[in-house]
Symmetry: C2
Subunit: 104 residues, 2 copies
């Protein structure tokens, strides 16, 4: 395979990754709605710890645990933004939702 | 569905995401090898622009283009680290590969 072939494979993977990340965001939205109705906190350190444990266990490389964690920290930050927007829709619609500071 | 059900769905998605990210990393490794043999640069702004265009076109939400881009910037940075390690294996084996500064 030459570089063009590998890049085609990467583009195919990116299509799937974008779909899965959006599915994950839809789940975060739904959890945000449930949290809003039950007054649960957005930031739950125990749940985030479980997510990082799960991905480390699933990781068979070549990404190192640290590299995978770096991507997931960004992804989890954004999922937290989504839940924040779900719980504070008035604030989110006024400002730039992605400018919120994460609360940890 | 309650919160536990949504979290189970997220855990399933995370398993797939970890696999796909690792497949993507394997492709970056292979491209790194080909680049090493042909003295091509690690950082290719045109290729990175195409990646960001592709993911924006594929994005049907609920992630905003900006949110998706934030995750992908991290992912692309790590892929660049992988290619750097492939091209400079002596340096990478001496130090901490993930501490390299991105070159853009």
């Amino acid at each position: 395979m030459d570089i063009a072939d590998w890049r085609k494979k990467i583009d195919d993977l990116d299509r799937k990754l974008v779909q899965l990340m959006n599915e994950r965001a839809r789940c975060a939205h739904e959890i945000g709605k449930l949290k809003r109705n039950s007054a649960m906190p957005i930031y739950e350190p125990d749940r985030e710890r479980i997510i990082f444990e799960n991905i480390a266990r699933e990781n068979s490389g070549p990404l190192s645990e640290k590299q995978l964690r770096q991507v997931y920290e960004r992804l989890v930050d954004i999922m937290r933004q989504i839940q924040r927007d779900e719980m504070l829709p008035e604030v989110a619609s006024e400002g730039e939702a992605t400018e919120f500071e994460p609360n940890d």
